[in-house]
Amino acid sequence: MAKLNIDKIQKDFELDTKKHDDHAFNVGDTVDVSVKIEEGGKSRIQKYRGIVISKKGAGTKKTFTVRKISQGIGVERIFPLFSPSISDVKVIKKGIVRRAKLNYMRKRTGKAAVKVD
């Protein structure tokens, strides 16, 4: 039985299907995510601002979670990093954190919920 170089085929496939490069940001950063939205045949870009609380996955399967407080309610959105509907991720403010996953942000209320320190 011929052995396939599975890792290489998978890696090449990911390079081929990747639509754009990795956006540079870290967990804890406050970011503006530009999301393409299709409405009635027209597309526009909507910005989603929040704190990156998690990055996970490998290769083209990477995702990141952005949390914000919208009208007093916590909202989290998980974006696939290489999705063609994400045109840009702009870092507004760098955050200094000691953890890779900021799950403690979910317990915070008030002003503390919108800033990391």
Partner: protein
């Protein structure tokens, strides 16, 4: 009717134009060599005998080597017969290769393979039965089948009663799956969804 043999590489994901994630299976298909043409007049059906993967000559036995020596080609380790249309067969020659480009993006195919072997599997895993309750006083009956029949009548277990036993390692076909991408350079066929078998296992892709 057309089809090719290949090997399953594994699963991955892709984005479509709308930005949706599609789960895909990558199938590696080296160009299949035509070993024999079988036509209606002689065999009663139309098919092509296809082979892939060259191997050291010492790995073959004499009859196999003899067969390939007669055809004047290097011996191939994996040989399968796939049904083809009569006119498609007429266009080909023995010794030629058929590659992935016979499939078009968007067309539907059936993929045959050998499912992963699970050995002697219990009744819950093999047939998806529920099993006993986890608590509320149940004692050592969490994954057991319970009753398998009635009383003095019929006095036996009904034939075909689903019970524990060997599971997997059997021929399975996934029907009507869509081709997402055809990569001629790398000899890859990308289909949507899952395909039977483990990584590196043999699959036959046939037009649905």
């Amino acid at each position: 009717m057309k089809g090719l043999i290949g090997r399953k590489v594994g699963m991955n994901q892709m984005f479509d134009d709308q930005g949706n994630v599609i789960p895909v299976t990558i199938i590696y298909m080296e160009p299949n060599k035509i070993i024999e043409k079988k036509t209606d007049e002689k065999f009663g059906y139309n098919a092509l005998k296809l082979g892939i993967e060259e191997k050291k000559e010492s790995r073959f036995n004499k009859p196999e080597l003899g067969m390939f020596a007669k055809l004047e080609m290097k011996p191939l380790s994996t040989i399968k017969e796939v049904r083809f249309d009569k006119n498609a067969i007429d266009k080909t020659k023995v010794g030629e290769y058929i590659d992935v480009t016979i499939f078009e993006v968007g067309a539907r195919v059936n993929v045959e393979g050998t499912s992963k072997g699970r050995g002697f599997a219990g009744w819950m895993k093999r047939h998806g039965f529920k099993g006993g309750p986890g608590s509320h006083g149940s004692h050592e009956v969490h994954r057991r089948p319970g009753s398998i029949g009635a009383n003095t009548f019929p006095g036996r277990v009904i034939l075909g009663k689903r019970m524990a036993g060997h599971f997997g390692n059997e021929r399975v076909t996934t029907l009507n799956i869509k081709i997402v991408k055809v990569d001629k350079e790398k000899n890859l066929l990308i289909v949507k969804g899952a395909v039977p078998g483990a990584m590196n296992s043999l699959v036959i892709v046939k037009q649905a």
